[in-house]
Symmetry: C2
Subunit: 301 residues, 2 copies
């Protein structure tokens, strides 16, 4: 099934205890689309500035499974993020953020994309996310990501969006902020009441939880001993999951669990290197081997 992602494409500057990576490819749409490309063709809507280095963008344009005709080029500078991780690398400290062209992002979905059956709205303002939905034919499955900023300043718009989507992806702190619940489980169940058919709460190195009408599923992260840079882990998780779902053309509970497992595996590979470097040396076969190990790990005989 056709898969569309709308999100950011950025130039990142990252420092972790394992090293530094200046001027590298970042952004939610970059991580998501590459992660999804292991499973299915993926269409990207995003924006870059006139200054965007062509060798960074070529990581996406050279991938035969990534369609970048929806990447708009605007005059002005590209979205830049500079961040640092310390200690156990659980939380990024944002040192600088320049939204530049992404701040005015007015997504235009190319005519050839409008029939996409699976849609992922990466983190962005709920208003911009709804503008995307307005341009789509009737997609089968729409999943959106969000963040604390929108929960705080566009809560009403977010609640409106939540009635138009099938799944919401957010992290544990955001789920607690959105609901004022006293545990992640309670928060997930409360978010369900706000409209989506399922909710996925990402917990970083602790894995993710999935909530559907009568299911609560907790899944751990795949334990890698080679954590290098957590940037993009959440979008890689979403990309692996949505890519798998689109490749199967369905989203029942068992397929969603398999999708979450693929998401966990792809995210664990991504964090083993800076930017998308580990993806570039990864094959679907390698992903499937790690998926089998993950399944065995969780199989209680």
């Amino acid at each position: 099934m056709s898969l569309l992602v709308v999100g950011s494409i950025a130039i990142d500057d990252v420092e972790t205890p394992k090293g530094t990576a200046p001027n590298v490819l970042g952004g939610s749409a970059s991580y998501f689309s590459y992660a999804a490309s292991f499973f299915t063709p993926v269409r990207v809507v995003g924006v870059v500035g006139a200054d965007f280095p062509s060798d960074l963008l070529s990581v996406l344009t050279d991938n035969p499974n990534i369609d970048t005709q929806g990447v708009q080029k605007e005059s002005g500078n590209s979205f830049r993020w500079k961040g640092k991780y310390e200690g156990d690398m659980n939380v990024a400290e944002t040192l600088e953020v320049h939204l530049n062209v992404f701040g005015e992002f007015d997504p235009h979905v190319p005519a050839a994309y409008r029939d996409s059956r699976f849609v992922f709205l990466a983190n962005g303002s709920p208003n911009v996310q709804m503008k995307v939905l307005d341009q789509m034919d009737r997609p089968e499955l729409v999943v959106a990501d969000t963040m604390n900023l929108w929960i705080e300043i566009q809560r009403d718009e977010l609640l409106t969006l939540m009635k138009r989507i099938d799944g919401l992806v957010l992290n544990d702190q955001e789920a607690l902020l959105l609901t004022q619940a006293d545990s992640v489980v309670a928060a997930g169940l409360q978010v369900m009441q706000m409209g989506p058919k399922f909710v996925i709460v990402k917990k970083g190195e602790h894995g993710a939880m999935f909530f559907a009408h009568d299911e609560v599923v907790a899944m751990p992260a795949f334990p890698t001993g080679r954590l290098t840079d957590p940037t993009g882990a959440g979008d890689s998780f979403a990309g692996g999951m949505m890519g798998y779902l689109a490749s199967q053309g369905k989203s029942d509970v068992n397929t969603l669990k398999r999708g979450m497992a693929y998401g966990a595996v792809v995210a664990s590979i991504n964090v083993e290197g800076f930017t998308l470097s580990r993806f570039l040396e990864t094959s679907r076969d390698h992903i499937d081997k790690r998926f089998d190990a993950y399944r065995r790990m969780l199989h209680i005989v």
Copy 2:
């Protein structure tokens, strides 16, 4: 197989967002022994003061699977702990701690206990833990818990202990403190180098990780929506796990995984009420039903 636990028996004062519980039964040996008693008979070595309320101790003495002849009664006051949990209840704030008779605890293992095949040394100073081992016949499986205090002030003694035990249980922060590693996975692998055959890293609401010579297993907590009081979750986890292992009389990787799953289930029941209240209304049948749900949750078809 016979199971022995050596640890604390306390009078707790607990406050959480769900309420307060003054003067209730607490202590590692209390939670551990009750959790283990669902699976196997368990022998307790601990100490209480002359002031210990008999109705609190009767929670243990009334349980036909708990042998309390090893509970020493000393003149003086009992161990008291007063703590508070706020927000998402991840971390206890200790308001008061009075070690009293537990501060001078000199464990005496009754002759009838010395042949115990499975031994759990709940959190205590490594010196005291080794004194217990000195009194034992050759047990088959010895597992010890520890805490940041001993890592800081009795590091050498802890390293000596680690060469005399089969398994070490500690939480994620303690594993990072002990190794100075930059991730829990790296920390677990490094603790393995210090002597034990396996290491279990507890992560509270995020579950636990298990490390053996060629296995790294991450398992989530069982997601309960009724979190009331996290006190004793770690000792309940250990009790469920060790109780199951002792009931099976083995500790191979598959049995350990089942044991960890039982530990996760028992801990999730315990945190649904204050002190040991939920255990008192729980049957092995209820535990087995939740175990099956946990297994199904992690089964990726």
